[in-house]
C-alpha cells in the first residue's frame, strides 16, 4: 500500500498518532515561520535548518466544510491553531464537531486521508484531552 506524505517538509512523525510541526527560525534576526521558509522574509538570510515546534496549541477558529474537496470527503473540519512560538497553523481537525470550542487546547497528530493506494498521511489536530 502506497502512503504518500503530505506537506512532508513541514512536520515530523513521532509515533503512530503523534507528530510535531517544523518551523524555520532565522539565525540572523530570529523570525519564525511555518511552514519553514528557506529565506527569512524579514532579512533574506538563508536558513536551511528546521526546528521543532510545541506539540500543543490553542484553537483560534474552525469550520466544518460540507462540500467535497478533490482529496477529501465532506464533511471535514479545518481550523487555525495558535502555537506558543507565535505562529498560526492551518490544518484539519479530527474531532466531534460539537466538542470544538474556540480557545481549547489541541495537539498535533497524524491523520490518514483516503484509502489504499490513494491514501496520504498528514499532520492534523486533535483535542488535547484525547491524548
Amino acid at each position: 500500500m502506497l502512503v504518500k506524505k503530505l506537506n512532508e517538509d513541514s512536520w515530523k512523525r513521532l509515533s503512530d498518532d503523534q507528530a510535531v510541526l517544523l518551523m524555520s527560525e532565522c539565525k540572523h534576526c530570529g523570525k519564525r515561520n511555518f511552514p519553514p521558509l528557506r529565506f527569512c522574509p524579514n532579512c533574506h538570510t538563508e536558513n536551511p535548518e528546521k526546528k521543532e515546534m510545541s506539540r500543543l496549541g490553542t484553537l483560534y477558529s474552525f469550520s466544518r466544510i460540507h462540500i467535497p474537496h478533490k482529496l477529501y470527503k465532506a464533511p471535514y473540519i479545518v481550523g487555525y491553531v495558535d502555537f506558543p512560538e507565535g505562529l498560526r497553523v492551518f490544518g484539519q481537525i479530527r474531532s466531534d464537531f460539537e466538542e470544538l470550542r474556540i480557545g481549547m487546547k489541541v495537539a498535533t497528530s497524524v491523520c490518514r486521508f483516503g484509502e489504499g493506494e490513494e491514501a496520504v498521511v498528514a499532520y492534523c489536530f486533535v483535542p488535547a484531552e484525547k491524548e
Binding site: 513541514s10 515561520n33 483560534y60 469550520s63 460540507h66 462540500i67 479545518v78 487555525y80 495558535d82 498560526r88
Partner: protein, 377 residues
C-alpha cells in the same frame, strides 16, 4: 500632479449562471455597450486593459480582434477576483499620468467552465493541499467574529436578505427572488456557519468601461477621484483576523488620495463574496467602528434608503461573482447611481460612490489583492 480621469462609457452583460457564448463573445457585448454609452468612436481608443482570472492567454486580443480594435497597446491582467478592478487601476494610472486620453477597460469571466463546488485554488499552496477552500477562510473569520463580538448566523443572513431585496430591482442580477432569514439559514451548509445562500454564486458575465481624460469628457462622465491597488502582507503569526487588514490599509490610502472620509460616501459596492464579509467591510471601510457591523446592518443603514446603502446592485451574493467582471460591474453600478440612471434602485442624491474589491485566497494573507475606487459626480 495627476490629471483628472473620467468614466465616460459603461457597459455590462447580465450576470447569468451560463452563457452559450465564448468568454470573448460575452465581453464583446459589454465593450460595444460601453462604446455606445460613451458615444465614442472605437478608433479613438489608445490602449486596452483586460482583466480576467481564468480567461487564458491573449484574452484581450481574442475579445477585440473581431471588433477590429487591436493594433494598440493591450495588456491582459490577472489578480484573482480583483483582475478587472486591477485593470481599471492600471488604466486610471496611465490616463492620470498623461499617457493616453482614451482607454478601454474590460473585465470578463466564464465560471460555468468549473461546474459546481468551490473554485479551485493553487495546489502549490500548503493550506490548499490540506483542504483549505475560500468558503472556509471566510467561515473561520465569521466564527471568530461571532465569538468575539456576539451575534448569530441569523444576523449574517440579514446581509443575504438585504442584498436580495436590492437585486429584486436589478434585472442584471442572477438571483432576484426575495429571501427570508429562515430560508437563508435552512439552505445547504457550505462551511459552518456559512450556508449556500450566504455564499456568492458562480456566474458568467462581462463589463467594460471607456476611461478618458478631460479631452473626451461628456456631460454623463463620472470622475474617478481615487484608484488604489495593493497586495496582501504576509503574516503567519498570531493576528486578529476580525480586522481585514488589507481593506483597512487600502481604505486609508484611498480616502487620503480622494480627500474624503467614510462619512462622505453616499453609496458603496463592496466585495460581499460571503455574507459575513460585507459586515467586516463596513468596519474596515470605516462605516462603523470595529464590532459594530451587525448593529449597523440591523439598523437598516446599509439598505437602499438608509444612511449608507451598500451593494444596491444586490452584490456578489445576488448577481453572482464572475471574478474578472465583478470589479468593473461595481463601477457600472456606482456610475449609474451618480448619473441618476439607476432606476428603481436609485440611491437618491448620490454624489460620492465607493467600490471595493478584494482578490484571492493565498495562505498567510488576508487576500492576495485589494482595489478601491472613489467616484464623484
Amino acid at each position: 500632479m495627476a490629471r483628472p480621469v473620467y468614466v465616460t462609457g459603461i457597459g455590462m452583460t447580465p450576470f447569468r449562471k451560463k452563457y452559450d457564448l465564448t468568454q470573448a463573445e460575452l465581453a464583446q457585448q459589454a465593450v460595444v455597450t460601453a462604446l455606445r454609452d460613451a458615444g465614442f468612436d472605437s478608433r479613438k481608443v489608445e490602449a486596452v486593459y483586460s482583466g480576467s482570472a481564468w480567461g487564458g492567454p491573449l484574452l484581450g486580443q481574442r475579445i477585440l480582434r473581431d471588433l477590429g480594435m487591436t493594433g494598440v497597446p493591450l495588456v491582459n491582467i490577472e489578480n484573482a477576483c480583483s483582475s478587472g478592478s486591477s485593470a481599471l487601476n492600471q488604466a486610471w494610472s496611465a490616463v492620470a499620468q498623461g499617457m493616453y486620453d482614451a482607454v478601454l477597460v474590460i473585465g470578463s469571466e466564464k465560471l460555468s467552465r468549473f461546474g459546481s463546488g468551490a473554485l479551485p485554488l493553487e495546489d502549490d499552496d500548503h493550506e490548499v493541499r490540506l483542504g483549505q477552500i475560500m468558503p472556509a477562510v471566510y467561515a473561520m473569520r465569521a466564527q471568530r467574529y461571532l465569538h468575539e463580538f456576539g451575534g448569530t448566523p441569523a444576523d449574517l443572513a440579514l446581509v443575504s436578505v438585504k442584498n436580495r431585496k436590492h437585486a429584486h430591482l436589478n434585472e442584471y442580477a442572477q438571483f432576484r427572488d426575495l429571501l427570508s432569514v429562515e430560508e437563508v439559514l435552512a439552505s445547504r451548509p457550505v462551511a459552518d456557519p456559512l450556508t449556500l445562500l450566504m455564499s456568492c454564486p458562480k456566474a458568467d458575465g462581462a463589463a467594460a468601461l471607456v476611461i478618458t481624460s478631460e479631452r473626451y469628457r461628456n456631460d454623463r462622465s463620472i470622475e474617478i477621484r481615487a484608484s488604489s491597488l495593493t497586495s496582501g502582507v504576509f503574516e503567519d503569526g498570531i493576528v486578529d483576523t476580525t480586522i481585514d487588514e488589507i481593506t483597512v490599509r487600502c481604505a486609508q490610502e484611498t480616502y487620503e488620495a480622494a480627500g474624503i472620509g467614510p462619512e462622505d460616501v453616499d453609496v458603496a459596492e463592496v466585495h460581499d463574496a460571503f455574507a459575513s464579509a460585507e459586515v467586516f467591510y463596513y468596519e474596515a471601510l470605516g462605516f462603523c467602528k470595529q464590532g459594530e457591523g451587525l448593529e449597523l446592518l440591523r439598523s437598516g443603514a446599509t439598505a437602499i434608503g438608509g444612511r449608507i446603502p451598500v451593494n444596491p446592485s444586490g452584490g456578489l451574493l445576488s448577481k453572482g461573482h464572475p471574478l474578472g467582471a465583478t470589479g468593473i460591474a461595481q463601477i457600472v453600478e456606482i456610475a449609474e447611481h451618480l448619473r441618476g440612471e439607476a432606476g428603481a434602485r436609485q440611491v437618491k442624491g448620490a454624489k460620492v460612490g465607493l467600490t471595493h474589491c478584494t482578490g484571492g485566497g493565498i495562505a498567510g494573507m488576508d487576500h492576495g489583492a485589494c482595489t478601491m475606487h472613489v467616484l464623484v459626480r
